[in-house]
């Protein structure tokens, strides 16, 4: 069904929103990226391929390109292996303590990005607690053992399996158990059923996760930067390095564009698969999965052992972080933990010392501002796009999805380059280096996810509600305020919470655009990893991390995990459906 453009123009609300939207899209979504292209292909206003040549002759740049693709490919294998294993172990096979295992693996959902990378470095790095312990036992060991490609792959594998926990679990739950029963009745073994029935059914989902993993590897910033050492640097850290020196800004732009094109291509493939693929079982009422026993005793024991070993790998770092957040730095570095070393001093410091609390405050401020702004703005946009369907609205919707198609690095760099000088489109205001830029960037990055979710929420609101309000005398704005808003409010709140959550520990964007005096947590935590010794700053990092984990866990619980007191209906309204919120096609949400 399409609505005529004429009718659309008759709505005053539409015209106001459209005007704002057009300017916003032009200024923030289109122009910066054009500027970036200009920087590379027409630095002096004339077409030129000098930037490409310079890139080709820079050894460091070419190495970073190669490393990124190697990392992406290796991760595609390791993340899938581990991810499939942990999902099968907790959701498919009959393994003792599966719930407990799942909770342990799920720590990766509340603990990712720079926080996780920093945590691993502080524990396994040169001055790390575990390294100290090991060095006590093997004095001649290399203290820098946890660095380079292996370390990066290790950390990113653990983080990447979050996708499996969210999406593959979901896909697995939709496998029609009747097909499994049927196969078993025909005499198929556990392994055969797994290989011939279960895995093929969830294969499209695995492909999707693989592409996301690949993209995550390609655009990785924190892990290679902190743990890669000199010999394993990848594209994004290199972009950051180049962007910071004016003479090589064109190289940064060129690398960003290479990254952008690769991303677009891969997302194109993903999109095609989404369209053609059936992710889920066709059967209307698939029978719920019953856990499968592994008959072979040895295999059973091996799977149990592997599952618990992985649990230790997953849980040890966050656990140690919680423990260390209650101890003094000296106790950690000396590796001598006793009852006396436990203290609340670190927490006291964070909450009493303004200096220590400041980064937290900055992150909360930016997160709250951006998540509320984007939800408020998209509320109108989503409704209008959902209501008026024609070429104009389709074009607007496409443009709003640009931040989803392009890597955040590219978006951030584009903004920095486009607005480091007075530009008429911004009313001659320079944004680069200001406090505002990070907030704006966050808003931009959260648009696609917010828009998709809100549109879905509005789709669930029958048109007749609006008609009923209209015929009872309510104007469009009154209808929006009194009828539509209350219906989508719970979803909007959930989306705002998820946005807030994911912005709180952001590092990748902040490192490009944040103001030096208003640095959010992510940057402060990253800087703490650069110190040679464990000091009180490190202890603060632990406290920040624990607080972040708490906030994230609470949000996740509020959005997804609350026991459904008001029955299914109420809950379905409050939370965006789990598959769509946690949709795999949203790399921004999951990328490290």
């Amino acid at each position: 069904m399409s609505t005529s453009v004429r009718k659309m123009l008759r709505s005053p609300l539409f015209i106001v929103v459209a005007a704002v939207l057009l300017w916003f899209s032009a200024a923030f979504l289109v122009w910066p990226n054009l500027r970036l292209l200009g920087e590379v292909f027409a630095p002096d206003g004339k077409p030129s391929f000098r930037a490409l040549e310079r890139l080709g002759s820079s050894q460091r740049a070419m190495d970073s390109l190669r490393n990124s693709f190697v990392l992406a490919m290796v991760l595609s294998v390791t993340v899938n292996l581990v991810g499939v294993f942990i999902v099968l172990a907790t959701r498919y096979f009959d393994i003792r303590g599966a719930r407990f295992l799942y909770l342990g693996y799920a720590t990766t959902l509340i603990y990712g990005g720079i926080v996780q990378v920093a945590g691993y470095k502080i524990i396994y790095g040169e001055q790390g607690f575990v390294t100290n312990l090991l060095a006590g036992a093997f004095p001649e060991m290399d203290r820098a053992w946890f660095t380079g490609m292996a370390a990066v792959v290790f950390v990113m594998t653990v983080a990447g399996t979050g996708n499996h926990l969210l999406f593959m679990t979901n896909a697995l739950a939709r496998v029609d158990f009747q097909t499994i029963e049927a196969a078993r009745m025909m005499g198929a073994s556990t392994w055969r059923v797994l290989l011939t029935i279960v895995l093929p059914t969830i294969r499209p989902m695995l492909y999707a996760i693989t592409i996301l993993t690949f993209l995550g590897g390609l655009g990785a910033l924190a892990a290679p930067q902190v743990l890669g050492g000199t010999e394993f640097q990848t594209i994004t850290p290199m972009i950051l390095t180049f962007a910071n020196s004016p003479s090589s800004r064109d190289l940064a732009a060129t690398l960003a564009i290479v990254l952008g094109i690769s991303t677009i291509l891969l997302l194109g493939i993903l999109n095609r698969m989404e369209r053609g693929g059936t992710y889920f079982a066709v059967s209307k009422v698939p029978a719920a999965l019953k856990k499968q026993r592994i008959e072979n005793r040895w295999a059973n024991a091996a799977v149990h052992a592997a599952a618990y070993l992985l649990l230790a790998v997953y849980v040890l770092p966050p656990l140690l972080i919680v423990v260390f957040s209650f101890t003094s730095a000296s106790a950690i570095s000396s590796g001598t933990l006793s009852w006396e070393s436990f203290t609340l001093a670190n927490y006291e410091l964070v909450f009493t010392d303004y200096q220590a609390f400041w980064p937290f405050l900055v992150s909360i401020g930016y997160g709250a501002f951006a998540s509320l702004t984007v939800v408020a703005g998209m509320l109108f946009v989503a409704r209008l796009l959902q209501k008026y369907r024609n070429k104009v609205s389709a074009a607007i919707e496409f443009v709003l999805h640009i931040p989803w198609i392009l890597p955040s690095t590219l978006i951030a760099l584009g903004l920095v380059i486009a607005y480091d000088h007075a530009s008429w489109i911004m009313g001659n205001v320079v944004l680069t280096g200001t406090v505002a830029l990070l907030g704006i960037t966050y808003v931009i990055l959260k648009i696609p996810f917010t828009l998709r979710m809100l549109k879905a929420a509005f789709t669930g609101v029958p048109d007749q509600l609006e008609e009923a309000a209209a015929i009872l005398g309510a104007g469009p704005l009154t209808t929006f305020r009194l009828v539509l808003l209350p219906v989508v409010a719970p979803t909007a709140a959930a989306i705002a919470a998820l946005n807030f959550n994911s912005l709180l520990d952001d590092y990748d964007t902040a490192v490009f655009v944040s103001h030096p005096l208003y640095q959010p947590l992510g940057i402060v935590i990253k800087n703490a990893t650069a110190e040679d010794t464990l000091n009180d700053g490190t202890a603060l990092t632990f406290v920040y991390t624990v607080l972040l984990m708490l906030i994230t866990a609470t949000t996740m619980w509020l959005v997804y995990g609350r026991p459904s007191a008001g029955g299914r209906r109420k809950r379905a309204m409050a939370a965006p459906p789990a598959d769509s919120t946690a949709e795999p096609a949203n790399p921004r949400n999951q990328r490290n």
Binding site: M1, S2, K7, P462, Q464, L465, E467, A468, A469, A470, I471, L472, G473, A474, G475, T478, L482, V483, P486, V487, R569
Partner: protein
């Protein structure tokens, strides 16, 4: 009074209502009846102001309202799914229209109470969320919400179709009583001919966006103007060629039975089919033609049974008839029967499916419902 004047509604390239003309009188219970997709809702929504007609005009009480926004048409509407505001209580739902038009709180409360009482909603229910109500209660809230603003016109789009059969029957009567009590001009949309026949003062039967016939329930049923209406309303037999030929011959022999055209599409309402045992004495009526046949099947409905009978004559086909379950033992499959048909009961339509004016005039003039076919 409501007038649709040369209304045309086009979706993309599809003419949902081509050249739509209709007059609805003050105080009428007027029903738009037709199969799914025939444009009933489109006609109703055009009146409500939700659809902008591509051409033509809508008038209410002589005033042109074609492009007037819904909120200024003084219309109340009950939607098929009721469209109750899910985040509001029953009271808030009913009072919504008063609230947005700035009526004071006290006045709102008074009028909500008043209207709630007239649709049998008690004070206890007023405080509940609308999702806690049953389907029937929700429907009453929807009606109260529509009536509380004292609109001039009430629109109902299949308001009973979401309810179970029993409740549906019961609410028909209540709805009709309410309409009479308020004396409000009502436009009712349904695809259920039973609803249309029982509730309406007049009915417009629609097909593919066009009105086939407008008339009282009796007119529409007894004197279906077109083949479509005849088929859509009630239960009819389409008579096989052999049967029509036999009836036409019989009619020629009995002048008082009127004339039938052997080649026109011919229909006979199920209740007009007489079923007799072969040894029944054919009672006095000479116009009735008796055709021998065999019972194929019987369906028991409680009050009556319906039978499918294979007629014995060449090309006479199968007819369906019914018998009240009152004392008569009825027939079993395989029983021989005599099927009695009065040629005067046969409805005939020209090839175009429309009655000729001449035939219509003749039919309205004379009691026997026989239409002369046109060529």
């Amino acid at each position: 009074m409501i007038t649709y004047e040369n209304i045309d509604v086009v979706f993309d390239d599809f003419h949902a209502l081509p050249e739509f003309n209709l007059k609805i009188e003050e105080g009428e219970f007027f029903t738009l009846l037709g199969p799914s997709g025939c444009g009933k809702s489109t006609a109703l929504r055009t009146l409500a102001g939700f659809i902008d007609p591509t051409a033509g005009d809508v008038h209410i009480d002589g005033k042109r309202v074609t492009h007037l926004p819904s909120q200024r048409r003084q219309i109340g509407m009950v939607f098929q799914n009721y469209a109750l505001f899910p985040t509001m209580t029953v009271r808030e739902n009913i009072g919504f229209g008063l609230k947005v038009s700035g009526v004071s709180k006290a006045e709102t409360a008074r009028r909500v109470d008043e209207i709630a009482a007239s649709v049998d909603l008690d004070g206890n229910q007023l405080g509940k969320g609308v999702t806690e109500l049953s389907g029937g209660q929700q429907q009453r809230v929807a009606i109260a919400r529509a009536l509380v603003l004292r609109p001039k016109i009430l629109l109902l789009d299949e308001p009973l179709s979401n309810l179970d059969a029993k409740l549906r029957h019961q609410l028909r009567g209540q709805l009709k009583e309410l309409q009479e009590q308020f004396g409000i001009t009502t436009v009712y949309v349904t695809h259920d001919q039973d609803e249309a026949l029982t509730m309406s003062t007049r009915i417009a039967v629609m097909n593919k966006g066009r009105i086939e016939q407008v008339g009282t329930p009796q007119e529409v049923y007894m004197r279906s103007a077109t083949e479509f209406v005849c088929n859509f309303i009630g239960d009819v037999n389409r008579l096989a060629a052999g049967t029509v030929a036999a009836l036409a011959g019989h009619a020629r022999e009995n002048a008082e039975a009127g004339a039938l055209d052997a080649r026109s599409p011919s229909y006979l309402r199920v209740e007009k089919v007489g079923l007799h045992t072969p040894d029944d004495v054919v009672r006095g009526n000479g116009t009735r033609l008796m055709l021998p046949g065999t019972v194929l099947s019987r369906q028991y409905h409680g009050v009556y049974s319906s039978y499918r009978v294979q007629l014995a004559g060449r090309d006479q086909g199968v007819v369906k008839g019914m018998l009240q379950e009152t004392g008569h033992p009825g027939f079993a499959a395989g029983d021989p029967v005599l099927v009695g048909i009065d040629p005067a009961d046969v409805l005939q339509y020209g090839d175009a499916g429309a009655e000729t004016e001449e035939a219509a005039a003749q039919r309205t003039a004379s009691a026997p419902l026989v239409a002369e076919a046109s060529r």
